[in-house]
């Protein structure tokens, strides 16, 4: 099992004929990710790496049964691309672009919620279910199937988490990167909800950062969650008033800073670690303890 995407997912790349789109196409095909088509208005009928390119998401859905999209278009065009994807019925959508106007992000998010689509981003690395499907900027070679689900805002930070798990010999069920902008489609909690329902996921790792209430909403859900959660929040030493690379990472009200989020998560029953480097070990311990419990 996995969440959000699996081997039956049918992926399109919006903006496939651009440089980033072509590179991603090559990579996803080399990884055997279930990529079926591209969408580039005005370029319908062309091919990229043997895959058909359509003028619209509507046509791609009609001709290929596509249901997920990696939106690889410039920031200024992301809104329309996402709205069209949602309208055409693509229900898992990743917006890679950084620098999307927040008004556009607001509209994408509202439309996705209204229409029941799952939107990662803007400014998101996307999601990957190792061995099944890749709808992300992450390199599938570094992951392997396993019992750990990861939900993070940041893509680069996620590499580090995966590395920590690899050291412990632990693979991933799915890895989900939500994006670093102040307004993004999905928050941590609904992803945790999917991990909770996924039999493969034995432990969930939540990686958060300062700013916004996503991690606090997640804490409220963790209180009712059976799957154990390891949580790490970045930005403890961020100087006040500065945007920390992610437009959304900004010191805010006390509960939105590291101590506030850590406290909420710990109180909800998550295993909170102070350092990035402690995540792998914490996951290993929980799995070990669970095994001892089930085989006394």
């Amino acid at each position: 099992m996995a969440i959000l995407i699996d081997a039956n997912t049918r992926i399109v790349i919006q903006g496939m004929t651009g440089v980033i789109g072509r590179n991603l196409t090559q990579r996803l095909l080399s990884e055997n990710s279930p990529l079926v088509a591209g969408v580039s208005p005005g370029r319908g009928g062309q091919q990229v790496e043997g895959l058909p390119v359509f003028d619209s998401c509507y046509r791609a859905v009609r001709e290929t049964g596509a249901d997920a999209s990696f939106v690889s278009v410039p920031a200024a065009r992301a809104r329309d691309a996402v709205m069209e994807a949602i309208d055409a019925g693509l229900h898992t959508i990743v917006v890679y672009a950084e620098g999307v106007p927040v008004r556009d992000a607001v509209e994408m998010r509202a439309y996705a919620r209204y229409r029941g689509a799952r939107l990662l981003g803007p400014n998101a690395a996307g999601c990957i279910s190792p061995g099944l499907a890749n709808l992300s900027d992450l390199n599938a070679d570094w992951l392997r199937p396993g019992p750990v689900g990861i939900v993070s805002k940041s893509g680069t930070l996620t590499y580090e988490v995966i590395d920590g798990l690899n050291r412990q010999g632990l693979g991933q069920s799915s890895v989900v990167c939500l994006g670093g902008d102040p307004v993004v489609g999905m928050w941590h909690a609904p992803v945790l909800e999917l991990f909770e329902a996924d039999p493969q996921t034995r432990v969930a790792v939540l990686v958060g950062e300062i700013g916004g209430r996503s991690e606090l909403e997640a804490a409220a859900f963790i209180q009712r969650m059976k799957t154990p959660v390891v949580a790490y929040i970045a930005g403890r030493h961020a100087p006040a008033g500065k945007r920390m690379g992610h437009a959304g990472a900004l010191m805010g009200r006390p509960e939105e800073n590291v101590p506030g989020k850590q406290a909420a998560l710990a109180e909800a029953g998550a295993r909170v670690v102070d350092s990035l480097t402690q995540i792998g070990g914490a996951v290993r311990q929980i799995l070990k303890a669970a095994k001892l419990e089930s085989f006394p």
């Binding site: 008004r103 607001v106 509202a110 680069t156 590499y159 990686v207 300062i210 920390m244 690379g245 350092s275």
Partner: protein, 376 residues
């Protein structure tokens, strides 16, 4: 981008909101009566700092403006001086449209009690009206805000077009915040924006035509180092002017985590840099980032890069080139991991850098040989 009052008002006026008659000194407004002379600084404490003066004549206003323009108020240099007619105000109200990142929408914030900081107003006297992004504002929402502002004392109808226009400004100009405090109700029933605080979404600059008139540099919260790094296409965050370490990291999330690791290890960090995708993609930006770092002469530069899609050997070659063009004087500790990282590390070792694959030994190297702050 934060606009100064004068530019904020120009923006509001362009969309049809009434503002007092005013001009940016050395111009003076064409007004016969009393004048207000206002320092243009991004601070809500402007009045307390002596940044607002009253003049009976244009001559007096001119003298005050000239004097004010040379001053420093609190932490701010006075960027510009704005002179406008002095209003007879019957009531001071509060009206703003603020982006609520958590609700994911613009929210109209209003209060019949304006003229003070909104944080000082009791919550029962504040109405927050979220505007649905798909439907936009409804007529009944405008009516409710107007009723709340009128507070049973005046005709609400006068406020409806003001609220509507402010929402139009927020949408058309892509604002993160547009705040009018006070919104002035004059004895003759007119409603004017007596002040204006506007924060624009920089990401939407491509579809906005507005050009601020007043100088921006005073408004920018960036340090010189941050600005230089920003001009190279990366994001720099200055942490401690006396810090010894500058950390250059391959991504925003990892940058924050790296800062946490360094500070927790007791190191004094001058600045952290997020290289971002565009810099990682090409040599020129990277060279300029390293030039900027070199000019800051850090005792230690820590490069922390973990890349799964970009190629580490290419990155190392670009780095070697940058080092030759503008060498870093102090120690350079490198953590390089990812695709083709073996070759990359070899290249960087030849540059005399201290090179590691994993984070832990790199951190050990940093703390072992760098001054660790006392009482960590």
């Amino acid at each position: 981008m934060n606009l100064l009052e004068c530019d904020g008002k120009t923006l509001l006026a362009r969309h049809g909101l009434k503002i007092p008659n005013g001009a940016l000194w050395p111009r003076l407004p064409d007004h016969a009566g009393q004048l207000v002379v206002k320092a243009q600084i991004p601070s809500g404490r402007r009045g307390a700092l002596g940044g607002i003066l009253f003049a009976d004549t244009p001559e007096q206003a001119r003298a005050q403006a000239e004097n004010l323009g040379r001053q420093r108020l609190g932490e701010h240099h006075v960027a510009a001086v704005y002179v406008e007619e002095r209003l007879a105000i019957a009531r001071e109200l509060y009206l703003a449209v603020a982006l609520d990142r958590d609700a994911g929408c613009q929210t109209v914030v209003s209060s019949p009690d304006g003229g003070m900081s909104i944080e000082e107003v009791s919550s029962a006297r504040i109405l927050k009206m979220p505007i649905d992004p798909l439907t936009g504002p409804h007529a009944f929402q405008l009516a409710e805000v107007a009723r709340f502002l009128a507070d049973g004392a005046t005709d609400p109808q006068a406020f409806v077009p003001v609220v509507e226009t402010l929402l139009r400004v927020a949408r058309a100009e892509d604002t993160e915040l547009v705040e009018i405090n006070p919104l002035a109700l004059l004895p003759d029933g007119r409603v004017l924006a007596a002040d204006a605080k506007v924060v624009l979404d920089d990401n939407a600059a491509f579809r906005r035509s507005f050009e601020p008139e007043a100088t921006l540099k005073a408004v920018s919260a960036q340090s010189a180092l941050e600005r230089t790094i920003g001009q190279a296409g990366a994001v720099g965050v200055e942490v401690d002017a006396d810090g010894e370490v500058i950390a250059v990291v391959s991504g925003a999330g990892l940058m924050m985590a790296t800062l946490d690791l360094l500070k927790t290890a007791g190191l004094r960090v001058r600045c952290v840099v997020d290289l971002g995708g565009s810099v990682l993609a090409g040599g020129e930006g990277l060279r300029r980032v390293f030039e900027a770092v070199a000019t800051a002469s850090p005792k230690v530069t820590f490069l922390n890069a973990f890349m799964q899609t970009a190629l580490c050997d290419e990155f190392a070659r670009m780095l070697a080139g940058a080092q030759e063009a503008s060498p870093l004087a102090g120690r350079v500790v490198v953590r390089l991991k990812g695709r083709c990282a073996d070759t990359g590390r070899e290249i960087l070792k030849r540059q005399g850098f201290e090179v590691f694959e994993d984070l832990a030994p790199a951190l050990d190297a940093l703390t072992a040989q760098t001054n660790v702050r006392e009482g960590r």
